[in-house]
């Protein structure tokens, strides 16, 4: 019996050993992504296709009856539109300033609050609070502080030099808006890094310390490498959201923003796009502009992904990984 089994099973076992496992894993993969995949195909594909088609028309939001096909004219127009070029540059600058600031600051805070400091829970909750202050209040709060004639900051400065009326939101728009943006975003970034830091096994750190490493080396050689997947994640997310920022200046500059009436320094790409859509009824053109930005972001994301192999440490791949 046993010999027969072995004799029969052996040659088959090699074939069955690879294929079934791959098949099993493929089936498992698709089973796990099924909910997302099915909903995507059923509900998302049509809107995306229609969204692309919209960008090739002169749709203005209201004129479905007389809408005309524009082909790629909207896209061509974007390249000769000086406002588009300028606002693109502003968005790139905005992203270049905000992304590292946000990542570095929230990582630092997470590091600090990961240690046994007194009042840790309190600090964490406090740092998270700005994200729960509703949008409607943010502008008012900051206007009170930064307003030119009646703001708190100028009020304090007036104690030293009477009549100070620094135009923070007009002359220093970029720093001011960055400050507000960082203020609002620290909490969210901090949470993700905290979660990641907590995922680092304590035994690793303790083992290294026992082996004689000081805290800095532990940080450099254990903490950071194990955090690179999340840093990578935050980097991609920051790129995507910062290049598409429009809400913050809109809130800070009140009703003026839909008209493009924000400070020139923060005349960001999507703000310019919304001006086209809502003040000039160029919905088709605006959609094309948004798609163009998406393509740029996708390209940037691709680049970052390509660089990932050089600096992102994936535990699963390092140890031989799953099939």
């Amino acid at each position: 019996m046993a010999t027969a089994e072995v004799a029969v099973a052996q040659p088959e076992r090699t074939a069955r050993h690879i294929a079934p496992r791959v098949v099993r894993r493929t089936v498992a993969f698709y089973a796990f992504v099924a909910p997302w995949l099915i909903c995507f195909v059923a509900l998302d594909i049509i809107p995306i296709v229609l969204g692309v088609l919209t960008s090739m028309t002169d749709y203005d939001g209201l004129n479905l009856a007389t809408v005309k096909w524009m082909g790629l004219k909207n896209y061509a127009r974007a390249f000769t539109d000086s406002d588009v070029a300028y606002s693109f540059g502003r968005s790139v600058l905005w992203s270049a300033i905000n992304t590292p600031t946000w990542i570095v600051l929230s990582f630092t805070l997470a590091l600090i609050l990961n240690q046994a400091v007194k009042g840790r829970d309190f600090f964490r909750t406090l740092y998270y609070l700005p994200s729960v202050v509703p949008v409607v209040a943010v502008a008012r709060i900051w206007a009170i502080f930064l307003d030119t004639n009646n703001g708190l900051l100028n009020g304090i400065l007036s104690l030293f030099r009477p009549g100070t009326a620094v135009r923070w939101l007009s002359d220093y728009a970029l720093p001011a808006c960055t400050a507000i943006s960082v203020w609002g975003g620290l909490g969210g970034g901090m949470i993700i890094f905290l979660a990641g830091l907590q995922g680092i096994p304590q035994e690793l750190e303790e083992a290294a310390l026992i082996d004689g490493a000081n805290k800095l080396r532990v940080f450099r050689h254990i903490t950071i490498p194990l955090m690179t997947p999340l840093i990578f994640f935050q980097l991609i997310m920051a790129l995507i959201t910062s290049l598409q920022t429009f809400a913050l200046p809109m809130i800070v500059y009140g009703g003026g923003a839909m008209t493009g009436g924000v400070a020139r320094a923060v005349y960001l790409y999507v703000i310019n796009t919304y001006r086209h859509i809502f003040a000039f009824q160029r919905f088709g053109y605006g959609t094309a502009l948004l798609w163009l930005m998406s393509i740029v972001i996708m390209g940037l994301t691709l680049v970052v992904f390509r660089t990932a192999r050089y600096w992102v440490y994936y535990e699963s791949e390092a140890a031989g990984g799953a099939a």
């Binding site: 796990f32 997302w36 909903c39 949470i191 979660a195 995922g199 303790e206 994640f233 930005m293 996708m298």
Partner: protein, 284 residues
């Protein structure tokens, strides 16, 4: 952690001091505007917009809070918000973690393509698909219902799928291999090994989803009529004078009450986030 507290070196004390100093400075910068927001909610309108600035109200205006909950059906709308936030967050948690797990551990045919789609979906701005998506839901007669949120929950969210994927890649492969040798199906691996070790990211994902649905004033504005809408939408325009101009004080009070569940959720949730990872069997 115990190792660090043994040495109380002078430089240790200095760095400890600097640490607290930094924390307090940051807390001040972050907290002052928040404090201002809170204290404003108990002022009268003239105190709120007074210049020079009045820090404290003369008389605490609890009336603002009373107005906030009586001028509109506050608790009714809050219940709508709660329902949507809970439903969406729970569903999204399940499907996103499942998908994230698959992308993290299963390098099979098509997984890279699908992951690129996930990334692309994160990048596509909402405005380009907003109207077509509305048309789709309108044809299905799902506008002015809560079904879109159910469907969006089942679909999972690209942001969270990506987050879970990144997190799951940090779990040592030996765990998974050991389980496989033991004959566990992928589902059991997911359910019994990955999920229990992922409490921090599960909590994070839930908090994020709950907060964003709770605070979402745009989605409900597009899909829901006034009777079924959520608190986030109502707060923006619910307190108006007869000309349609906003009444600031009830709005501020309403916004404060409305932020409370998020703060409580975070305070509770962050306890989960700090629960360490159980790493049994890592010495392989």
């Amino acid at each position: 952690m115990t190792v660090r507290y043994i040495r109380m070196h002078p430089t240790r004390a200095l760095s400890s001091f600097l640490l607290y100093a930094l924390l307090i400075v940051v807390a001040f910068c972050i907290g002052l505007p928040v404090f201002w927001f809170l204290i404003s909610s108990i002022k009268t309108e003239s105190e709120y917009i007074a210049y020079p600035i009045k820090f404290l109200p003369k008389v605490v205006q609890w009336k603002n809070y009373v107005d906030a909950v009586t001028l509109i059906d506050y608790w009714g709308y809050a219940s709508h918000s709660l329902y949507l936030a809970l439903m969406y967050s729970t569903l999204c948690l399940i499907t996103s973690s499942a998908a994230g797990f698959a992308f993290a551990r299963f390098k099979v045919r098509g997984s890279n393509t699908l992951f690129s789609i996930i990334l692309a979906m994160m990048i596509v701005p909402g405005m380009v698909t907003l109207i077509p998506q509305f048309i789709v839901y309108s044809r299905l007669h799902l506008t002015n219902t809560y079904w879109p949120w159910f469907l969006w929950g089942v679909a999972g969210a690209p942001f969270h799928i990506f987050l879970f994927r990144q997190f799951f890649t940090t779990i040592p492969a030996q765990l998974e291999e050991a389980a496989e040798v033991d004959g566990c199906t992928p589902f059991r691996v997911f359910w019994q090994i990955f999920l229990p070790n992922s409490k921090p990211v599960l909590a994070t994902s839930f908090i994020f989803n709950f907060s964003s649905t709770w605070s979402d004033w745009f989605g409900p504005l597009i899909y829901l009529d006034d009777k079924r809408t959520t608190l986030a939408v109502k707060i923006n325009h619910g307190y108006q004078n007869a000309h349609g101009n906003p009444l600031m004080m009830p709005t501020l009070a309403a916004a404060t009450i409305y932020a409370l569940p998020l703060i409580i959720l975070f305070f509770i949730g962050q306890k989960y986030i700090i629960q360490g990872v159980v790493t049994s069997g890592i010495k392989g």
